[in-house]
Structures are given as C-alpha cells and as structure tokens.
C-alpha cells in the first residue's frame, strides 16, 4: 500500500512536470502564451456561427444559432485536437521514456488535460461574450453542464488511449486518425439535438457517450428550452470498455517499443 501511494505521488509529479513542459514547448513564453489554445475553437465557432446565422433564422428551436454553434463546435474542436495529438504520441515523446517513472499513459493524460482545459476556457469565454449580446442565457444548471463536460472528456480520453497505441502499430491506422474524426461527427451531437431525430435513430445514438455528454451540456446551458436525451450508465460503460482496451494496447505497444 505504501508503495502504491508512493507510485501515485510520483505519477502526479510526472504529470505536473509534463504539463508545464508541454505548455512551454507548445506555446512558448512569448505573447499570449497559453491563451492561444482558446483562439482556434473561438474563431472556428464564431465563423461557423456567422455562416449559420445567414443560412438559418437567427434563432432555432428557441436557442440563438450562435450559442448553439458555440456549444457544439468548441467541444468538437477539443475532440479533433485530442485525436490529432494522440497519433504517434509515444514516439514523439520517446526521449522522455529514458526516465523510468515517466509512463506512456502520462503523455495521453497530459495532452487531453491541456486540450480539455483550453476548450473549457474557450467555452466560458464564448458564453460570456455571447451573453453580453444577449445571445447566451445564464446556465440553467451548472452542475449538469459540468457533468456533461466530464462525460465528454472521459470518453475522448479513453478513445485516445486506443488511438495512441494503434497509431504506433501501423502507418495505415495513423493515417486513419484524421478520418476517424469525420466518422465521429454524426455521432457527436454537434449539429443537432437528439430530440429532433426519429426515435429509432435517437436510441442508437445513446450508445455514443459524445451524444449523452453534449445533450447534458446543452441542457445545463439552455435549460428547459431543450429536451435532452442521455444515458449516463451506458456512456460510462462504453468509456470504461474503451479505456480497458486502450490500457491493454498501450501496455503491449510499450513493451515492444524501440527507443532511440
């Protein structure tokens, strides 16, 4: 037990050190630094929001199109970045594996952590700006909003633990990682609420933790304007199964990794 606790303590130190190293290499010390991580999701969401607001009515199903797009696209950018960052993540960081206490799993935790914090900051920022123009309501239930985020982040983390090792196993799979983002789109609940869909499609989508997470986030933000559909036990179950597969694959890949 003492050894287990000591192991945890070391892993937390490693994760903290890796996080600050990652922030330094990616954003440098100059200009706005870490805030860069918010820029892309915000630009993306605002441009898509602008296009949508010309194509559709400014409000749709009782929500502002801008708010709807922002709540969908910011988590989606997080998904895209996390998947992209997971490809070849072990080899990219392999020089750090010279230190025995650094585990391949730490790399995935750190990347997903940074991306998720950045996305949440962008989410809050977008919410405040839109609220200033009266386009975003004060969140109806912050607890539900956070729960939705947590489910979304946990599922993406468990998917990344699968994507990272298989991207090392074969070149073909590595190239498939960006494609997998597009495959994920219809199952991500970005463009629509489950309530707008026929019941049989909706039931099938409940197998996607992304949909449950997104529905909860939107319910937490917009309240009773939307009718959410979600299945928390299913979402957690699917995520845990993915995480288990990911752990096994990561371990196998690490055992046969050649480190230069």
């Amino acid at each position: 037990m003492a050894r287990f606790n000591e192991g945890w303590r070391i892993q937390i130190k490693v994760i903290r050190a890796l996080t600050s190293r990652e922030l330094m290499t990616r954003f440098g010390r100059q200009n706005i630094g870490f805030l860069w991580i918010m820029v892309e999701p915000l630009m993306f969401a605002s441009l898509v929001g602008l296009v949508w607001s010309f194509l559709k009515a400014p409000t749709n199903h009782g929500m502002s199109v801008f708010a709807f797009v922002a709540t969908g696209y910011i988590p989606l950018t997080f998904l895209r970045h996390s998947f992209g960052q997971s490809a070849k993540i072990f080899v990219a960081n392999s020089s750090l594996l010279y230190h025995r206490q650094v585990k391949v799993f730490d790399f995935i935790i750190v990347r997903v952590l940074i991306e998720s914090v950045g996305a949440m900051m962008a989410y809050i920022f977008a919410g405040i700006v839109l609220a200033f123009f009266g386009l975003f309501p004060f969140p109806a239930d912050i607890g539900v909003l956070v729960l939705g985020w947590a489910i979304y982040v946990f599922f993406i983390f468990s998917l990344c633990t699968i994507l990272a090792p298989i991207s090392e196993m074969s070149e073909v799979v590595e190239k498939l990682v960006p494609v997998s983002v597009y495959i994920a789109l219809p199952f991500s609940g970005v463009f629509n609420m489950a309530a707008w869909l026929p019941p049989n499609v909706r039931d099938a989508l409940m197998w996607s933790p992304l949909v449950s997470g997104m529905e909860l986030m939107r319910f937490g933000a917009f309240g009773t304007v939307v009718t959410p559909y979600y299945d928390i036990p299913k979402a957690l179950g699917v995520s845990l199964v993915c995480l288990l597969i990911g752990l096994i694959l990561s371990r196998r890949v690490r055992r046969t990794m050649t480190i230069t």
């Binding site: 020089s95 750090l96 010279y98 230190h99 025995r100 690490r254 990794m257």
Partner: protein
C-alpha cells in the same frame, strides 16, 4: 543490488528478427565498478537500456533493489526543443529534487554558462554529456549506467567525471560500457564481455581485457 535474470532481447523488423541478447545473468552489487566490453553491435547499449528500464526485455527480468540512473549516453533523456535549464527543471521535478540545488550544481559542473539558455538540440555531444552527467550526479543514484559517453568529453570534462565517479563517489555502483581499455583496467573491479548475445563475467579485469582483445 541490481540483478539481471535470464534477459533476452529480440529486435524485429518485418520478417527479420535479431536476437541481440540470448540469456544474460549477472548481479551488480553496491560499490561494484563493472566494465562492459564488447564489439560494436554486441548489445552493450541494449543491455544498459534494459537495466535502466528504458526498453523491456523479450523475456527475463531486471530486479532493482537500489536506485539506478537513466542510461547516460549520446541520446535520450532530454527534450531537444527545451533549454538546458528547462530540461534541468523537468528532471528535478520528476526525480522529486529541489530545482534550486540541481540548478546550482549543473551550472558549476557543466561550465556551460549562457549555453544553458539555449535549446538542447543545438548542443554538441560533449555539451549534452556534461548536462546529463551533472544532472545525474546532482540527483545522486546508487548505481550509474554509463554508455560510452565519457570519451566524447574534452580533457577537463574527463578529469571532472573521473574525480566525481572514481574519487568522490566510491560508495556507488557503476556499469561502464567503454572501448577505452585503460579506463576499464584502471577503475573497474569486475568486467563483463558481451559476445554473440551472451555475457561472461570476469572477476579479473585484466583477463576480460585479454578476451576482448582476442574477439
């Protein structure tokens, strides 16, 4: 004590498998100075990487009952895009040592001055070796794994490393892969000759050197 038990290591590339190590057994006791001899490609670096836990053996295991450095060699251990100072901070953190102390030791041992503010990827191998040695000495391990690298240093660095490893830290164990026979002769109390994937341990260093010369 560090024990290698029946270590096997295969490297696979497509259909070709190379058995680099075919069953290695030996023990590193505290205070042991072991010279690791063998021709190029005999598996010296591989063995050191396995002992350091950087790569995992195909079969067999390494049992570590004392703290052990990462393999101090030409590559590995640093993030090239970060500066010497940032790497030092990172390593201080993951080995749970106060950065201020480590930093001071690194400045004094490496004598790299303002180079420490430059990214490690532009360092020469000698500069890298200085940084790696300084960090591992500041952290204080029971056992140091040294892969060739003392030889890349200039005279000043070689003297410094010799003083630190062979005069000050006589209570530590050392596994030293080297082609410098005089160094092995002068400083090691045991030697291992690696040939054809197998290791032979010699208690008499001079005998090991003769065997190595005959390879």
């Amino acid at each position: 004590m560090i024990e290698c038990r029946n270590l096997h290591m295969d490297y696979r590339n497509g259909h070709v498998t190379k058995n680099v190590l075919k069953g290695i057994d030996f023990v590193i006791n505290p205070c042991d100075r072991i010279g690791l001899l063998g021709r190029n490609g005999a598996g010296k670096s591989t063995l050191i990487r396995l002992i350091g836990g950087v790569e995992m053996p195909t079969a067999g295991k390494v049992i570590r009952r004392m703290t052990c450095s990462w393999p101090l060699g030409f590559t590995g251990g640093f993030q090239g895009s970060l500066t010497g100072y940032d790497n030092a901070r990172f390593i201080a953190r993951i080995y749970d040592r106060p950065y201020a102390e480590i930093r001071e030791y690194v400045e004094q041992f490496t004598e790299l001055g303002s180079n420490l503010k430059m990214p490690v990827k532009i360092y020469s191998s000698g500069m890298r070796a200085r940084l790696a040695f300084a960090l591992s000495l500041a952290i204080e391990f029971d056992c140091y794994l040294i892969d060739e690298v003392i030889m890349v240093g200039d005279r000043n660095f070689q003297n410094k490393s010799k003083a630190e490893f062979f005069e000050k830290r006589t209570d530590r164990a050392l596994l030293l892969a080297s082609h410098s026979l005089e160094m092995v002769n002068q400083y090691c109390n045991r030697a291992i000759v690696l040939d054809d994937g197998r290791a032979t341990v010699y208690e008499d260093v001079a005998e090991a050197v003769e065997v190595y010369k005959a390879l």
